[in-house]
Symmetry: C2
Subunit: 290 residues, 2 copies
């Protein structure tokens, strides 16, 4: 069975593991702090690749940022990674083929192949983490758009400039449906600048009334966005992943979505492909190419 | 060259013409008032089909409402057409094959084949009329979704219930970016329940300050929705069609969209396939099947 050396490159951590064509992790994932400069990232990847190059058929990299339609390079800047990250020529780091895909798209592919959206012709995956990622799969293909950047969950929750988004624009879904969005909703509703996402989640879990109210407002915003996406894509299912997904009531969201959409009912599910779905997804995509 | 007898079935009017594989109208389009009951609609179609059946290869019907993925039937109810419209067995009306597609999808296909989005791998078409229609084309295929109902422009402009939408839900893009939406924006900004869409457009054209302000607010809402769609689909272009499209400043919208999106720039264009784009699009789709 063919094998990929998979990476998941994020703003704070880089993970690495060897993964086979069934999506199985053959090595315990290694975890590194993301270096603060381009050379540091290149050196880290190079070292990992060199020590495993003989065992693998392809290098598969799930990364923050948009990846071009040729799966060879990151396009444009990614707020969370060092400036100029997109200039890295990843193929130069290995004698084996190197394949890149955006991390949310990769995770969506893992859900589609071995997880919650398996068998779905049309699925929308939302990663509810520090930000919000999107991965849309239509008829066995990731929706990439003209340049590879499709699936960005920066549609507006309000048209009239209330909350700044990390992308530089205003009131994007990401600014409301993310963990950061939960903090901002808490700040606004509780009039407390110092409250954290963690405070709200702890309060929710211990049954605190104020925290529950804040969380429910946040979940209503998550739901409002899913209603729009369900009307636009008419998907078989919407999969919720990321650190915040474990706290949502997916059945409640599903009921509310299906009560409002004009299309036939959809299914709202929590992701099942696990914490390493980014690496698994990109490995499966890459291994289909060799 | 093969020919289709094309229909465009809307809530108030039905159009009909014979169209060839190049998208050329071979007969002057006929126009009928849409009958108020199912039998009336069936009789009208049957009579038209019988008088042209010998000259054509297929019957091609662009219709209000979602059309299934087999292109054989309307699914669910369509607010603008008589109750039970979706129960019509269109194939029974002709001895030639009958092919159906949603009217906005059909118009988007015409733009893609002979109009404003020709050559675009990824395009989003918005029909700004009494309502808002959507037709999304990705890699030579109309985005249909699991049941055929994708492309519905019912994503939310506000999450907190301000303006009722024709779909029964609240604050959908359609409720703001349509001609009806312009009337409601005018009602709100001018505090005048009796003002019409026509009043605002007339005022805009004669340079009236209040009407211009209302129209600009409406156009800002149109723009806000396009920003979201451009981030989701990363399209080569966004095409604006329908009766309201002639009044918008597409260059201004394009500039504002490109200033806000996280993907590479897109192009915002006015439709060019003409008033009969629905019939042309469905004819081209149908003729590719025979």
């Amino acid at each position: 069975m063919k094998k990929a050396l998979a990476f998941d490159i994020g703003g704070t951590k880089i993970y690495s593991s060897i993964i086979d064509e069934s999506g199985k992790l053959l090595t315990e994932p290694e975890k590194f702090a993301t270096p603060k400069n381009i050379d540091g990232i290149k050196d880290l990847l190079k070292k990992q690749i060199q020590s495993h190059e003989d065992e693998i058929d392809i290098v598969a990299i799930a990364t923050a940022g948009a990846v071009n339609n040729e799966n060879t390079a990151v396009i444009g800047s990614t707020g969370n990674l060092t400036e100029g990250y997109y200039t890295i020529d990843f193929q130069k780091l290995s004698t084996k083929p190197v394949f890149l895909e955006n991390d949310a798209n990769s995770a969506a592919w893992a859900e589609y192949k071995i997880g919650a959206s398996k068998g779905s012709n049309v699925s929308v995956m939302l990663t509810l983490g520090t930000g919000v990622g999107g991965g849309i799969i239509i008829n066995d293909k990731i929706l990439k758009g003209k340049s590879g950047a499709a699936g960005e969950m920066h549609f507006k929750m309000y048209p009239d400039k209330r909350r700044k988004c990390s992308c530089g624009s205003w009131d994007c879904y990401e600014a409301y449906a993310s963990g950061t969005g939960l903090k901002h909703t808490a700040e606004e509703l509780l009039n407390d600048k110092n409250i954290t996402t963690y405070d709200i989640i702890s309060g929710l879990q211990s049954g605190d009334e104020k925290c529950t109210k804040v969380f429910n407002k946040w979940q209503d915003d998550v739901t409002a966005g899913i209603i729009g996406l369900a009307n636009i894509f008419d998907p078989d299912c919407v999969v919720l992943s990321g650190s915040m997904a474990q706290f949502v009531n997916s059945k409640k969201i599903e009921t509310e979505v299906n009560a409002e959409i004009v299309t036939t009912p959809t299914s709202v599910r929590i992701a099942t492909a696990g914490n390493y779905s980014g690496m698994i997804g990109v490995a499966l995509l890459a291994l289909a190419e060799v």
